[in-house]
C-alpha cells in the first residue's frame, strides 16, 4: 500500500483554506485529479461546488490556470480553449472540463455530446454528487431513485438514475472511466493514463456529499467505499472499446461477494423515506448491471 501512495505526485495544487464543506468528497477527489494532471493543464468549470472551491476574487485556492464559464457551456468552453490553444500552437497544454452532475447529465449534456461527437481533444470530468448540491441539494437526473432532495422533499425521486455512462459510451470515445473519492489511487492512475490519450476522454467520479446525502462528514470515505462494495458504483475503464474492472471492483468481480445495497442506503439520511419497493428496484438494477459488466469483462 505505501508504495502506491508514494508514487503519487507530492505537489499539492489545491491550497489549504478553501471554501468546500467539511469532509467534501469533491475536495478529496480534486486533490488527486490535479496531482495527476500537473501544471500544464487549464481547467474550465461552470457555476457549481467547484467554483466555490476555487474561491472568490481576488484570491483562488487552486494553483492551476482556471476559467469559469456559464452553467450549460462547460464542454463548449473547453472546445474553445482547445481551438484557441491550437491556433496559437500551444499544444502542450491539457484542457480539462470539469462539472458536477447538474452541469453534465442535465444542463450541460448538449455541449458535452457536441464536443465529444466532434472528437475534441480534451478530458471531461463529471464529479457526480447526485444532485444540485451547490444550490442546496435539489434533485438532478443523477439522483438515485428513492432519495429525498429539496425538490423531492416528500415523495422522493421517482425515476432511476440516468445512465450517463452508457450515453457517453455511445460517443465512441477512446477512453471512459469511473472513479471514486474513496479510492484516490485508482483515480490518480486513471487520470495519469487519460492525460496521455488523445481525443475526448470522459471521467465520472462518484463523489459523496455530507450535507446532500445526510451523513456525518467523517464518513465520506466509508460511504464512498460502501457504494463500490455494494456494486452501486463500479470502478472500471473502457479503453478503445475494451471494458475492464479496476481496483476494488475487480476484486469483487473475481471473488463475487458484493454487499446488499441496504448497507449503503441505511447510512444516509436522504434514503430514509425510501420504500421497500424502491429498495428492491435498486437492488435489481444493481444486480442486472453488475451481471452485464461481468459478461463484458469475460468477453
Amino acid at each position: 500500500m505505501p508504495e502506491n501512495l508514494f508514487k503519487v505526485n507530492i505537489e499539492e495544487y489545491m491550497l489549504p483554506g478553501q471554501r468546500a464543506c467539511q469532509g467534501c468528497g469533491l475536495s478529496l477527489a480534486y486533490r488527486y485529479v490535479l496531482k495527476a494532471l500537473r501544471e500544464n493543464t487549464i481547467v474550465t468549470f461552470p457555476a457549481c461546488c467547484l467554483t466555490v472551491l476555487h474561491g472568490l476574487y481576488p484570491t483562488t485556492s487552486v494553483a492551476i490556470p482556471a476559467l469559469n464559464c456559464t452553467f450549460a457551456s462547460t464542454a463548449a468552453s473547453a472546445s474553445g480553449l482547445v481551438a484557441g490553444l491550437n491556433a496559437l500552437n500551444r499544444t502542450d497544454i491539457t484542457v480539462v472540463a470539469i462539472a458536477g452532475d447538474g452541469g453534465t447529465f442535465d444542463m450541460g449534456i448538449q455541449a458535452l455530446s457536441g464536443a465529444a461527437e466532434r472528437g475534441t481533444d480534451f478530458i471531461y470530468v463529471c464529479y457526480d454528487n447526485e444532485g444540485y448540491m451547490n444550490t442546496g441539494t435539489q434533485r438532478s437526473s443523477a439522483t438515485p431513485m428513492g432519495a429525498l432532495t429539496s425538490t423531492t422533499p416528500v415523495l422522493t425521486k421517482q425515476q432511476p438514475k440516468k445512465d450517463m455512462l452508457r450515453i457517453m459510451e455511445a460517443h465512441d470515445l477512446p477512453y471512459l472511466s469511473t472513479t471514486s473519492s474513496a479510492y484516490p489511487i485508482d483515480l490518480y492512475d486513471k487520470f495519469v493514463k487519460a492525460k496521455r490519450i488523445k481525443g475526448s476522454r470522459y471521467m465520472q467520479i462518484a463523489v459523496p456529499c455530507p450535507p446532500g446525502w445526510g451523513y456525518a462528514p467523517k464518513d465520506t470515505v466509508r460511504i464512498g467505499r460502501l457504494a463500490v462494495e455494494t456494486g452501486i458504483v463500479i470502478l472500471f475503464e473502457i479503453e478503445d472499446g475494451k471494458f475492464r474492472f479496476t481496483g476494488r471492483s475487480k476484486t469483487l468481480a473475481e471473488k463475487g461477494n458484493k454487499l446488499p445495497v441496504i448497507n449503503y442506503v441505511e447510512r444516509q439520511g436522504r434514503f430514509r423515506k425510501m420504500s421497500i419497493e424502491q429498495l428492491r428496484q435498486l437492488q435489481r438494477w444493481v444486480d442486472t448491471r453488475w451481471n452485464e459488466y461481468l459478461k463484458r469483462a469475460e468477453g
Binding site: 489549504p16 472568490l56 481576488p58
Partner: protein, 87 residues
C-alpha cells in the same frame, strides 16, 4: 484576475467544533520509524496533513471533518471537542 494563495476562505480551522489529536505511539509510521500507512494523508480532503514522522496536521486550516480519525487503521487519531484538552 484571481491569484492563488492559501486561506481564500480565511482560517478554516475556525470552522471546527472538533479537532484531530494524534497519539504517535499508535501511529504506524512513527512505530515503524519509516514511511508506511499515511492513510490520513491520503484521505484528507484539505491536504493539511503532512506525511512526516511524527505526523503533522495544520490546525490553522483543518476543518475537523474527522475522516483521518475514522480511517486510521491504528486508531491513533481521535477527535476532541474544541475547548477541551488533548485526549
Amino acid at each position: 484576475m484571481a491569484t492563488p494563495a492559501v486561506g481564500e476562505a480565511g482560517k478554516t480551522g475556525d470552522w471546527r467544533d472538533m479537532r484531530p489529536v494524534c497519539d504517535h505511539s499508535k501511529c504506524i509510521p512513527s512505530i515503524k520509524k519509516k514511511a508506511a500507512c499515511f492513510l490520513c494523508w491520503l484521505y484528507c480532503p484539505e491536504g493539511v496533513i503532512k506525511a512526516t514522522i511524527p505526523l503533522e496536521i495544520d490546525l490553522e486550516y483543518c476543518k475537523g471533518c474527522g475522516i483521518c480519525a475514522e480511517e486510521c487503521p491504528g486508531k491513533a487519531i481521535t477527535m476532541v471537542n474544541e475547548g477541551e484538552k488533548n485526549g
